[in-house]
């Protein structure tokens, strides 16, 4: 079904012939991904204004909103670059990119700025804002793992060596994240790597042991860490301690409850008035719920579902292993955190400190998400019609 659809599209493109590049580019955009992304980015812009305006009432334009928009522009530039450069370029750049992000994480460990008890930010005067290397590291690690796994060695199954190698790429990053500490992103990254390994062809059984080790490690970590333990107890029964451990979650429930079906209206939300901590970052979905109601939440969840469907469709159509893994990796990078974040906000998972892609305030996150989106669109553009573009372009014919 999907195969024939793509054929039709390819055929349409062919009949038009080699028109102006711009037209070709516009045509080559994956509609599903682009539409979903536009929905999410738009929601992000609107909600960012709504939530950050109350943080600085004196400003005519909320400074944080201006940051969000400027980051979005940078992100769109990064997305364009990612989309227009051939995928093979990213394959070559994957490992240096990973190394670079690893160095940034190490630098963060030594020179980073500590906020809320975690050393996660790097002050980069050249960029003009605090940079969060973890976001870059997640993307770079995914890309590097994809590059490693894509090397097939002529086997259908993913060889143990490559599994080890990809794990080895992720390990220092996860370790550095744990040291920050940033348990949420560490677990997320490990999960993403595992997903890539699964898609890459690893036997599920191979992943059982590391998964067990990880779970035991997480449990031990929580038991030995006051902060983490409180977050878990707050998650278990937020109403038990609505003013301390359960405060944030209760306030999130308040936002959902107040929102109802249609919400209290844009800008009318009250939970952003210092009631809900991190309202404009991690808990932005609560404010979507409060101001736009269930409808707004469904639009956001639908946006991610659309991104998921369209992104995985790109992956499944790929004729190139690297392109497939990149498409899946980027889709997962954008949608898995969304699922986790939404679960946290709605009290289905303990608080993690994960952002909601495209919506949460956070310049690094937004730029990297746009970049990931660009990569996804680039894969779609480059790899969708292998017949036309030719194998040499993707450079992945070796393991066909």
């Amino acid at each position: 079904m999907s195969q024939s659809g793509s054929r039709k599209k390819a055929a349409r493109k062919q009949t038009r012939g080699g028109g102006a590049a711009a037209v070709a580019d516009a045509d080559s955009l994956d509609g599903g991904v682009a539409f979903s992304a536009v929905v999410l980015i738009s929601m992000g812009v609107v909600m960012s204004y709504s939530t950050t305006a109350t943080l600085n009432l004196d400003a005519s334009i909320p400074p944080l909103f201006a940051h969000h928009v400027s980051a979005l522009l940078m992100g769109l530039a990064a997305a364009a670059a990612a989309a227009f450069l051939p995928t093979s370029v990213w394959r070559r750049l994957a490992l240096p990119f990973w190394l670079f992000s690893l160095l940034l994480l190490v630098a963060t460990h030594f020179f980073g700025v500590t906020v809320n008890g975690a050393q996660r930010w790097l002050e980069l005067p050249a960029l003009g804002f605090r940079f969060q290397p973890v976001e870059l590291a997640k993307c770079a690690t995914v890309l590097a793992v994809v590059a490693v796994i894509a090397q097939r060695d002529g086997h259908d199954e993913l060889g143990g060596r490559r599994v080890m190698l990809s794990g080895a790429l992720a390990l220092p990053v996860v370790a550095l994240l744990l040291m920050q500490p940033d348990l949420g992103n560490a677990v997320l990254l490990a999960a993403l790597v595992a997903l890539l390994q699964i898609v890459g062809g690893t036997k599920i059984t191979r992943l059982i042991l590391p998964a067990l080790v990880g779970i035991v490690g997480i449990v031990l970590y929580i038991l030995n860490n006051d902060y983490a333990r409180r977050r878990v107890t707050g998650f278990m029964d937020p109403w038990e301690r609505p003013l301390s451990e359960g405060f944030q979650l209760v306030q999130s429930f308040v936002a959902f409850g107040r929102g109802g079906l249609f919400g209290v209206g844009l800008g009318n939300g009250q939970q952003k008035l210092a009631y809900l901590p991190e309202a404009h970052t991690d808990f932005i979905l609560s404010l979507v719920a409060e101001e736009l109601g269930l409808i707004g939440v469904l639009v956001v969840l639908g946006g991610f579902a659309g991104l998921l469907v369209a992104g995985t469709r790109i992956a499944t159509r790929c004729t190139d292993r690297f392109a497939l893994l990149v498409a899946f990796g980027m889709t997962a990078l954008l949608t898995v955190p969304a699922v986790v974040n939404a679960s946290v906000v709605m009290g289905l998972l303990p608080t993690k400190g994960l952002t909601l892609p495209f919506l949460s305030y956070g310049r690094t996150s937004l730029i990297v998400c746009c970049f990931a989106l660009g990569l996804l669109l680039g894969v779609a553009r480059n790899d969708e019609s292998p017949g036309k573009r030719g194998r040499h372009e993707t450079g992945g014919g070796r393991w066909r």
Binding site: I198, G260, A289
Partner: protein, 745 residues
């Protein structure tokens, strides 16, 4: 075309996509549950944000009759914390305690004990608020809320009362009209953010929430004068406190209500609640001899006695079952006016007996005793008048002269005002007008509570009371120049609760007066609580205070006057050249009046100096011009004939306690001599060369009365008696003659 590996990868991708889609579907369901089904969050949210605080509406203004502001509301900063948001509790409580001058440990406990919005200090100064704002402490905020302030400070404080820290009136007019003044404290849907800040700066037009304004009947100027005079008199007499109430008899308007000791309502937090009460409305006091006026009025009104009727007070004592009633000394035969003039206990008991207990009791109620005045003043006392059926003869007797009955000063003032208002008793009008914010003034009308006595009776009694403020009366120090004054003194022994009997050393000194007597504009009650020393009687301390206050208030109404020094009737000099015919009853009364007890006893020195001084020119009651040739200015003149022997006796008197069975008629001798001992003798100071002011203050130090001959301008050139003369007893008057500066220079 595609490799097996690629296809299996696509299948795995598809599987993972399904799982993630399922997760998203689950999340959508969860979102539906949280938004539509589960109401906990909504309820909690409404609770926390719609913390329906009542917006503290600014209390209305309290103004005096000239619209001078007596109580206003201003915005005062209060400091609050939201402990949940505090970053550093230790530092916060340390800094706050330092700036606000609070105990650090208590503050710490307060912060620990709460999670949400909590006041730390209310009504701090602007400076403190600025310093705290400068600290920019997370979780510490400043809120402006209306604070009651009293720009005139202690002026009329017991009347105005005050509102407590939450803006609730708890004393005086503030309490009485709390519902009006506080207006409608709109429990507005004001919302706070989690830091405790109000979400909208002004959710309501403050004028809609504000309370109404009221205009009081008092006049700040008169009030201030009365308070100053009272404070001075309290200090001079060593009294514990005092009250002056001035009422417009026609309307019942309270023009001035001075109480001592006063307090500053701005500092109510440093006062004991008890000490902020209004003595005028709340304190029950025995009225003493002031009651006699009302007994006479009641008896006249009931027809039990006639104004011409006489009463034989005999030797100055009489027996009632269980008690001997005594006068200060014998007054012989008195008519009702004479009974009042000399304040004869024996006489008034006889009048009371003629009236009968039931009629007596009914009359007391008609005058407003035994029940609150209806002023509306919060927790106003009704005084204490026992039911007449419970009266033993001795009770009826003592009640006649104001013992065994308790009244509030305000009750007495309104009873006096009823006499001055043709017998019609008015309800005290404390509030002239009120208005809603932005509304029009609504006047409150004078209210009559009924006729206490007939207008004729009232006029008759006022005529009698004028004689009290004559040279022969106990109230002569209340006299005013060119204004007729009616009044009555009273010196009530206070009940010694510890010993269960009346104290011999603690008194309430009373005076009430009506001025001008021929066209009453003022009814004033003066009371001093426990004046010390020998000058503790109503006539000695309360009457002159009345004169001062009444003079100022009449001047305010365009009647120019001043307290007038009247020497007591100078019996000896008058008598010396007189024949001594048999006194008529009328004459006897006058004679007795001149011999008025307690205060105005004659002395050797007094006898030598006192020249009769001009008094209110016309008193129709006692016309006898031929008899007054030596005192030509005096038209109201007693018959002097009978006085000679007594004068002789009194001047040679030896001090002895007054025996119950004193020799008849001439026992006055002993009584008078008793009085002589009361004041220590003094040397007459040298007033010559002094200005009038200096002379007055010098005289005041020695408790000497001054009488000025001619115009008090320039410096004293002559005085009589001469410096160095010994003055004893209670009557000590020095006559001064002045020369103007030009003449003496």
């Amino acid at each position: 075309m595609r490799s097996q590996a690629l296809r299996s990868a696509a299948i795995r991708v598809g599987a993972l996509r399904l799982m993630l889609l399922f997760a998203l579907l689950l999340l959508a369901a969860r979102a539906g549950q949280l938004t539509l089904v589960n109401t906990d969050g909504k309820l909690h949210g409404n609770r926390q944000i719609h913390a329906r605080i009542s917006v503290p509406s600014a209390r209305g203004l309290i103004l005096d009759r000239d619209r001078t502001e007596l109580a206003i509301s201003v915005d005062a900063p209060s400091i609050y914390v939201v402990p949940r948001l505090l970053e550093d509790r230790k530092r916060t409580s340390r800094e706050l305690a330092r700036i606000l001058d609070l105990d650090r440990r208590q503050l710490g406990k307060r912060i620990e004990g709460h999670e949400g919005f909590t006041y730390v200090a209310r009504w701090v100064t602007e400076k403190q608020a600025e310093r705290i704002a400068a600290l920019e402490l997370q979780g510490v905020g400043i809120e402006y809320e209306p604070r009651r302030t009293y720009p005139a400070g202690s002026l009329a404080a017991p009347l105005i009362g005050f509102a407590d820290i939450d803006g609730v009136g708890v004393r005086g007019v503030e309490q009485m009209l709390d519902g009006w003044l506080k207006g409608q404290p709109r429990v507005a849907d004001v919302q706070r953010d989690a830091r405790g800040r109000l979400l909208s700066s002004s959710p309501l037009d403050p004028r809609l929430a504000a309370g109404g304004d009221v205009v009081l009947s008092i006049d700040s100027g008169l009030q201030g004068q009365a308070e100053a005079a009272l404070a001075e008199a309290v200090k001079a007499s060593g009294a514990k406190g005092g009250v002056i109430i001035s009422v417009d008899p026609k309307t019942g308007d309270v023009l001035a209500l001075a109480e001592a000791p006063g307090f500053d309502p701005n500092r109510f937090r440093h006062m004991s609640y008890e000490n902020t009460r209004s003595r005028s409305f709340l304190d029950m006091v025995e009225p003493g001899s002031t009651m006699k006026a009302f007994v006479v009025a009641a008896a006249l009104d009931a027809g039990a006695i006639s104004p011409e009727q006489t009463f034989d007070t005999g030797e100055g004592w009489m027996r009632v079952p269980g008690k001997t009633i005594r006068d200060h000394r014998p007054y012989g035969i008195l008519d009702p006016a004479g009974v009042l003039t000399v304040s004869s206990n024996v006489g008034i008991v006889q009048i009371g007996q003629q009236l009968g207990p039931e009629a007596h009791y009914d009359a007391l109620l008609r005058f407003g005793f035994g029940q609150p005045t209806g002023s509306g003043f919060p927790t106003e006392s009704g005084g204490l008048v026992r039911d007449w059926q419970d009266w033993q003869p001795v009770d009826h007797a003592t009640i006649s002269f104001g013992q065994g009955i308790s009244v509030t000063p305000m009750q007495l003032a309104m009873a006096v005002a009823s006499l001055a208002n043709g017998g019609e008793r008015m309800r005290p009008r404390l509030v002239l007008a009120r208005r809603r914010p932005m509304g029009e003034w609504e006047q409150s009308e004078p209210t009559s509570v009924g006729q206490a006595v007939s207008p004729e009776t009232a006029a008759s009694v006022i005529g009698m009371l004028e004689q009290v403020v004559s040279a022969q009366g106990t109230g002569r120090r209340a006299a005013l120049a060119n204004v007729r004054v009616a009044g009555k003194t009273g010196t009530a022994q206070k009940l010694d609760r510890a010993e269960g009997r009346y104290s011999q050393t603690r008194y309430t000194a009373w005076f009430f007066g009506i001025a001008p007597a021929d066209d009453p504009r003022l009814a004033i009650v003066v009371a001093l609580d426990e004046p010390q020393g020998t000058a503790h009687t109503g006539g000695a301390v309360a009457a002159p205070l009345f004169a001062r206050v009444a003079a100022a208030q009449l001047a305010h109404q365009g009647i120019l006057t001043q307290p007038e020094q009247i020497a007591a009737r100078p019996l000896p000099t008058l008598m010396a050249e007189q024949e001594a015919p048999e006194p008529t009853e009328q004459e006897e009364r006058d004679v007795q009046a001149v011999q008025e007890p307690t205060i105005e006893s004659r002395t050797k020195a007094g006898a030598t100096i006192a020249t009769p001084i001009a008094r209110t020119p016309e008193v129709a009651a006692v016309p006898d011009p031929p008899e007054v040739r030596q005192v030509p200015k005096v038209q109201e003149t007693p018959r002097p004939k009978a006085e000679q022997p007594r004068h002789v006796a009194s001047t040679s008197a030896v001090a002895k306690p007054p025996p119950v069975s004193a020799p008849p008629a001439r026992s006055a001798v002993l009584q008078a001599s008793h009085e002589i001992e009361a004041l220590p003798a003094v040397f007459v100071p040298d007033f010559r060369g002094e200005t009038v002011g200096a002379a007055r203050s010098k005289a005041a130090r020695e408790s000497i009365d001054l009488h000025v001959l001619g115009v008090a301008d320039g410096r004293v050139v002559e005085q009589s008696p001469a410096p160095g003369t010994i003055l004893g007893g209670r009557e000590r008057t020095v006559i001064l003659s002045f020369a103007t500066g030009r003449e003496s220079g």
